[in-house]
Amino acid sequence: MTRNVRLADRLELRWSRSLDDYVTTMTVSPDGSMVLVGALSGRGEVLDLVDGRAVRSLEPHPMGVLAAGWAHDGCRFATAGQDARVRIFRPDRSDRTVTVDLAGWGAALAWSPVDRLVAVGAGRTVVVIDGDGEEVASWGELPSTVTALAWSPDGVSLGAACYGGVQWFCPAEPGRPVKAMPWKGSLLTLAVAPNGRWVAAGCQDESVHIWRLWTGDDLQMAGYATKVEHIAWDPSSRYLAVGGVDDVTVWDFAGRGPQGSSPLFLDGHGGGVTALAYRPDGSRLASGDAGGLLSLWGPPSSSPTGSVEMGEPLSGVSWSPDGATLVVGSAHGTVTAVSVDGPER
């Protein structure tokens, strides 16, 4: 059941499909033709973005798929799961799948933005694997379980979020971390600004911690009502959106950064923001919540340009590269494609 609330942007349900349980991950392929989805039911699928037809139907991790993603060139995709395995697939061939054992739940996964390398966080280890399943580098004995991974935009270094801060690794220099950004707290999510200047982490202690990537100088935005698990940079790297309980806050990084400034509050959510993503052209921010509301927001403005009640608690969103389609996951296992026909497009 969907119902359009406001119509500045036309949001239209295109198709939906059930994966039986909480949809943990959804990513549209770089060419925009398919979407890779995974769920706690253990199911993982590649769906045609036009009609939702399953191009590949997989059961990659019986206990649950926790993370997945496409290589930057679209020639591989990978899934990681609760069975302590990562699997690397070729979209064109089903007989060339490789499986690599991990040290724990495969909870974090990030493909390099420039190379065909995938980084996976499992327990207190990080491993980087190439497109053929060969291990390129690995690091162990991190201070805690790795909760999130993010590459620098040049693909040279890889950040791992855990308790105690961000550890940076270079696959070309296996061994110790090349840099540490300490923070006495538990980091839950990690996002590097597309311009490579900032790195942001959502924290268990109800704050967002920000570092300047090259100097390591840091600042903190505290006072959220709950732990921060959802953050997103806009493509210009000027805005950082942070999911709260009843609202989204947007921090402005123009000039000297947001220190001492007030964020823009995007009100209207309820039950916890569970999904955040900027449209690739930066013209819209999509946000979703545990109450089932999906909203779109224009460049910094506090009223939505469109919203729709999806009828199920949302678990994530992903834009197609052309910004015409939003793939929305739900906690009840539904994947829905919503076409977005906004005036800016």
Binding site: D21, L40, S144, T145, D205, T226, K227, A331, G333
Partner: protein
């Protein structure tokens, strides 16, 4: 995640390796057949566990930046409980089996500090298994300075103490042991067991952290006259007749928790506040505190305030004196 859904109870099972935790776990799983139960294990048990989702976890203790110096939580539990609660097939009960070396405080505090966990789960009780034959050795073990005796902490934090393997010791020894346990923790109910066989009603759905059930706390602790002065972890019960001033009591509690929160493991209380028809109830773990007005005082019952503290180096006289100073008139 239906916001109206009842919170799922979580039982924490502590005790030394060999005390019989896994035996009790298996009994719960067998007798609660039909319920969906998940088990989070921090050590591989002596025997396997059947018929339940079992998740192995490595203990990760995180300090919280909330201005509370003793506030630590269990990062592994936050992560795993979060994962379990996302699943469509929500569990009816979750059991956490800690290692014999685990500090119960971060486990309990996890349920106070994390909003998502607070919303979806409720800590039902801390159940500590003790091995009747060996527990005294563990309790008496002298640790280097600054190192906690984990078995003393596990006894002190417990809502239920299961004295297992009573078949291996004589009645006299059991009584001596129970007296010792009660000296540390006067609040917990003690149950005797052979081969982990204990009435599950004593272990499940205890509601030990439920404010509404603070009132059900057995007031027997006040009848204990025998205090052991040779141990640093003890229970202190305070009872004063009449009413206390609400403002003074708040100041007293804030000051007490700020100064002594590190040493106070558990506390519970029912207080008669002047000008308030309802009973004020509270409970806490270290500096984390939960309290509020509950049901009205029955008209026939005298208005009496009862408090109990379990902790390290508690000064009974000073606690009694400072609380009595909050009394009205």
């Amino acid at each position: 995640m239906d916001p109206e859904a009842p919170r799922v109870p979580v039982t924490v099972l502590t005790g030394f390796l060999g005390s019989g935790k896994t035996t009790l776990l298996n009994r719960i799983l067998t007798e609660q057949h039909g319920k969906r139960i998940a088990v989070i294990e921090n050590e591989f048990g002596e025997i396997g566990i059947d018929d339940a989702l079992v998740v192995d976890a490595e203990e990760e203790i995180f300090e919280m930046n909330n201005g509370c110096i003793c506030c630590t939580v269990r990062g592994d539990l936050i992560r795993i409980l979060g994962n379990l609660m996302k699943r469509r097939d929500r569990f009816d009960h979750i059991l956490i089996e800690t290692t014999g070396l685990a500090d119960p405080a971060p486990v309990a505090q996890t349920f106070f500090v994390d909003e998502e966990i607070r919303r979806q789960l409720r800590l039902d009780a801390i159940v500590t298994m003790v091995d009747a034959k060996h527990i005294l050795d563990h309790l008496d073990e002298v640790k280097p300075d600054g190192v906690e005796n984990e078995s003393v902490e596990q006894v002190a934090f417990a809502d239920r103490l299961i004295v297992n393997k009573i078949d291996l010791v004589g009645e006299e020894e059991i009584e001596r042991l129970e007296k010792r346990l009660r000296g540390i923790n006067a609040m917990a109910e003690i149950h005797r067991a052979e081969f982990g066989v204990v009435d599950l009603a004593a272990v499940l759905d205890v509601g030990a952290f439920d404010l509404a059930r603070v009132l059900e706390t057995d007031p027997r602790f006040l009848e204990e006259t025998e205090h052991q002065h040779d141990q640093s972890v003890t229970s202190v019960g305070i009872e004063i007749a009449g009413e206390v001033d609400g403002g003074l009591m708040n100041q007293w509690l804030s000051k007490l928790l700020a100064e002594k929160g590190v040493d106070i493991f558990r506390m519970k209380g029912i207080v008669a506040v002047a000008g308030e028809d309802r009973r004020f109830v509270f409970q806490g773990v270290h500096m984390l505190f939960d309290g509020g007005p509950d049901t009205p005082w029955p008209s026939a019952q005298p208005r009496v305030s009862r408090l109990v503290f379990i902790g390290r180096n508690l000064d009974r006289d000073e606690l009694t004196r400072s609380f009595t100073a909050c009394a009205v008139g």
